[in-house]
C-alpha cells in the first residue's frame, strides 16, 4: 500500500513532531495552560482506511479546517470531541452554548493550525499560507471524508500525519491531522532531501 519507505515516513513523522510542538506552544499561550503532545504517527492509508483510522464515523466531533496554499497544497484538520470543545470554550471564557462558541473554536484552530503551517514552512523552506478556518460540528466520518474527497482526485491513498495535543489538568485534547494533496508529499520529501 505504501509507496514511501520507512525512512521517508520517519522524516515526515519528525516534521509532524516539530510542527505539533510549535502548535502546542501556541495553544499553551492561548489557554495559559501546559500542553502535552503525543508522538505523532504517519500513516499512508486507502481513503476508506483513512476514515476508519480517524475513529467512529458516527461520533459527533467538531472539525476545524485550514487549507494550505503555496508551494504545497493540502489541509490541516483539527478534531475536537464535544466535551473537549466545551472545556476549551470555558478556558477562553466563552459560554459553550453561545453563538460565539464556534468562532472561538475556529480561532483556536486558526492559531494552532497557522503555527503548525508556519513551522512546516520554515523547516522545508517552502512558501506556505493558511486559508481562513472553517468549522463544522457533525459526524466524524462526514467531516474527514469531505476533507479527503477534496484532494482525492489524483490518488487513492491519503498520508495522514496525526498527533494529539493534551491540555494538562483539564483532560481535554484535540487531534491534529495534516493531509497533503498527492503531489505535496513528494514535494515535502524532496525539500527534506529524502525523495
Amino acid at each position: 500500500m505504501s509507496r514511501y519507505t520507512e525512512l521517508q515516513l520517519d522524516a515526515l513523522r519528525e516534521l509532524a513532531n516539530i510542527g505539533s510542538g510549535t502548535a502546542s506552544t501556541a495553544l499553551s499561550g492561548l489557554l495559559s495552560r501546559a500542553v502535552d503532545i503525543s508522538v505523532p504517527s504517519a500513516s499512508v492509508l486507502s481513503l476508506a482506511d483513512a476514515v476508519s483510522h480517524a475513529g467512529d464515523p458516527e461520533a459527533e466531533t467538531t472539525g476545524i479546517v485550514l487549507g494550505i496554499v503555496g508551494d504545497m497544497t493540502g489541509t490541516v484538520l483539527l478534531l475536537v470531541p464535544p466535551a473537549d470543545a466545551v472545556a476549551m470554550c470555558r478556558m477562553l471564557g466563552v459560554e459553550p452554548t453561545s453563538e460565539f462558541a464556534p468562532s472561538a473554536l475556529g480561532e483556536i484552530g486558526n492559531i494552532v493550525g497557522t503555527s503548525y503551517i508556519n513551522a512546516l514552512a520554515s523547516m522545508t523552506g517552502m512558501a506556505l499560507e493558511p486559508t481562513p478556518p472553517t468549522t463544522a460540528t457533525d459526524m466524524l466520518g462526514a467531516i474527514v471524508e469531505s476533507v479527503l474527497a477534496a484532494g482525492a482526485h489524483a490518488g487513492d491513498v491519503a498520508l495522514m500525519l496525526d498527533s494529539n495535543l493534551v491540555v494538562e489538568g483539564d483532560d481535554c485534547a484535540m487531534s491534529f491531522l495534516l493531509v497533503p494533496d498527492q503531489g505535496g508529499v513528494d514535494e515535502l520529501l524532496s525539500r527534506l532531501g529524502m525523495s
Partner: protein, 170 residues
C-alpha cells in the same frame, strides 16, 4: 436489527440479494450514497461515491468515481438477478460540510449533479433523496424489502423509502 450489515466505506460499493442483509454507509459528507434497488427480486446495491468524474484517472480505484462506479454496480446487480428496467435509485449525501469560503471543498453539489445526470441517461428513476445541506448522514438499505433509512448526527433513523415485501408466488 438485521443479522448482517455490510459497511460500504469511502470509495467502495456492494451488492447483495441475501434476505435479512443490509447495506450501510456511515457518515456521508460530500460523498454520495447511491442506492439501487430491485424490489421484485430483493436485490440492492450501494456505492459510496467520492468524486463526480474519473477524467481519465483509470489506473485508480474506479469505484470512487460516479461515472465508473455506476456501470460496475449495474453489472453486479444484473449478475445477482436484478433487471435494469426495474431498478429504482435513492441518493443520500452530497452535503457541504464546511462554509462556502472553502471553494475546494464544494465537491458535494458536483457529486449530486453528476449522479443525477448519469441516472437520467440510464433512465433509472430517483424515487427518494436526502441530499445537499450541511449535515452528515448515514444511510441503510434493507436488501429484501428495499426499505431505506437515513440518520443525521445525533438524530434517529427516519424512513426515506418505505419497504415493500413482495411474497414469492406459491
Amino acid at each position: 436489527m438485521s443479522a448482517a450489515e455490510t459497511m460500504v466505506r469511502m470509495g467502495e460499493l456492494a451488492v447483495s440479494g441475501v434476505p435479512g442483509h443490509a447495506l450501510v454507509a456511515l457518515g456521508l459528507g460530500s460523498c454520495i450514497g447511491l442506492g439501487l434497488v430491485d424490489r421484485r427480486v430483493g436485490v440492492a446495491g450501494l456505492a459510496h461515491v467520492v468524486l463526480p468524474e474519473s477524467l481519465g484517472h483509470v489506473h485508480q480505484n474506479p469505484r470512487k468515481f460516479a461515472d465508473l462506479a455506476l456501470p460496475e454496480m449495474l453489472d453486479l446487480l444484473e449478475d445477482a438477478g436484478a433487471r435494469r428496467v426495474r431498478l429504482e435509485a435513492v441518493l443520500v449525501g452530497g452535503a457541504s460540510m464546511f462554509a462556502a469560503s472553502a471553494a475546494r471543498l464544494e465537491v458535494g453539489q458536483r457529486n449530486e449533479a453528476a449522479v443525477r445526470d448519469l441516472l437520467k441517461e440510464l433512465r433509472i428513476p430517483i424515487v427518494a433523496a436526502a441530499t445537499g445541506g450541511n449535515r452528515g448522514r448515514t444511510v441503510r438499505i434493507d436488501v429484501a424489502s428495499a426499505a431505506v433509512t437515513v440518520r443525521e448526527a445525533g438524530g434517529k433513523d427516519t424512513e426515506l423509502l418505505p419497504g415493500s415485501m413482495i411474497l414469492e408466488a406459491a
